[in-house]
Amino acid sequence: MVKQLLIVDNDDQSDAIDKINNLVKDKPFKINCLQFKVGLPDGNDVIGENGHIDMALVREKYEREFGARRFHLIAFDFQLNDGDGGVDGVSLIKTFNGIGKTRKASKILYSSELTEIVEEYLNDYKNTSNYERAWGKFKTLIKLEIVDFCKREDYEENIVSIIEKISEQEDDFIIEQLRGLKDLNFSAAIEIYEGLNLDEIADKIESGDSESLKFKRKLIELAVAHLAHLNNG
């Protein structure tokens, strides 16, 4: 099985990706590790006119670079170098949880332990006395269901340890099969997604299309019908 990992950081993470690939060399699974650069200096293409990260540009870039791709784990850098009141890893996770394709992925936050983040939020409140802003940040942090927090210096090991525990998602195998035979079409017997090639059907499943459950049921139903031994069938 190939587990899909995305690292979101403002600095290039090529060295970390090499380290992760090295760490899983002897594991019973592979990792396809990609990075998404957000913030200065290396992710400067999502900086808006006001000099801060622009979430609309982030969404556009994500769609452009990854489209319907699904990830098992997304690791977010907490500090995105966006200055006071700017975008950090928490607000980015909040945005990603609103995107259908990334909602289900497990998420971790690195470069700060939870205690450091809480301390920073409290300091912010201490300095500004802005209760609403501070409480908003805490609320977001509580609701995000982040699976782990870790320091930057050991985050590669943490990623490998977490992704190892993420079991295969129900659609992984179907999608892998469809992608491997992506130029083919199903016969019209299946009715749903008729006319689409297998790659396009995999896109539909990955994007959580409303018909995809019906399609999977029909696929299993017809596969069973085709393979079952039956006299006079």
Partner: protein, 224 residues
């Protein structure tokens, strides 16, 4: 389990005479006790319903073969009947506590509407089935017969008879549950669908394929 008895209600109608093969097959290939009620006249109809509850044992399977709609079953197309309602929602209660197979058009809707309220133990119903050329000339759902040929109708008759007769044979000889009978009908419809498109590749959806798809999709089970 003893071999089940089958009470087959089969109103006389030349457009459904082709279903006789199902009865012949059950008789020739199983040891089931088969009683056929071939009803032609109003008197026979009245007599049958007057005595049906007594005549049909509680553990018998009732197989009705004829025509149908969502509100009633019909079928006798004789000088006296001409597709009048044959089994209405009220008369369906005669089959209370029994297992019924309603091999007619739209009996799936009929069962959904009346099956459980009438106290049927279990029922198998079917969707709209195009089994007569007349339906191509005067269709009640024109979009469903688009492109359907007379040959398609003949092929569908053959297919339907095979699906039902072999599934009932399995049900009796392999001592399956009633739900397994339903699944046997469904899997045979699915195999027909797969086979048809395997021999007619890269032509997109075809009218006959749609008939098979509707059969597979529309066959329904209620009860337990």
């Amino acid at each position: 389990m003893d071999n089940p008895s089958f009470h087959i209600i089969f109103p006389k109608d030349e457009t459904t005479d082709f279903l006789q093969e199902i009865i012949d097959h059950i008789v020739d290939n199983t040891d089931a006790d088969v009683v056929v009620h071939r009803i032609e006249t109003i008197n026979q109809h009245v007599d049958f319903f007057a005595s049906a509850q007594m005549m049909i044992p509680a553990d018998a399977i009732v197989l009705f073969m004829g025509h149908g709609m969502s509100s009633a079953l019909s079928g006798a197309h004789t000088s006296e009947f001409a597709y009048g309602p044959f089994i209405s929602d009220n008369q369906l209660s005669l089959f209370k506590e029994r297992k019924v197979i309603l091999l007619t058009c739209r009996s799936n809707e009929f069962l959904s509407n009346y099956g459980l309220p009438c106290g049927l133990k279990a029922g198998i119903g079917f969707p709209n089935l195009i089994t007569d050329d007349y339906e191509l000339i005067r269709p009640d759902e024109p979009e469903r017969v688009n492109g359907v040929t007379n040959q398609n109708v003949q092929d569908f008759r053959r297919c339907l008879v095979d699906i039902i007769k072999f599934s009932i044979e399995d049900y009796i000889n392999l001592k399956l549950s009633f739900y397994q009978l339903y699944k046997r009908i469904q899997i045979r419809a699915q195999r027909q669908l797969i086979q048809y498109y395997n021999t007619n590749q890269n032509q997109g959806k075809l009218p006959y394929g749609k008939m098979l798809y509707d059969l597979n999709h529309g066959v329904q089970f209620i009860g337990n």
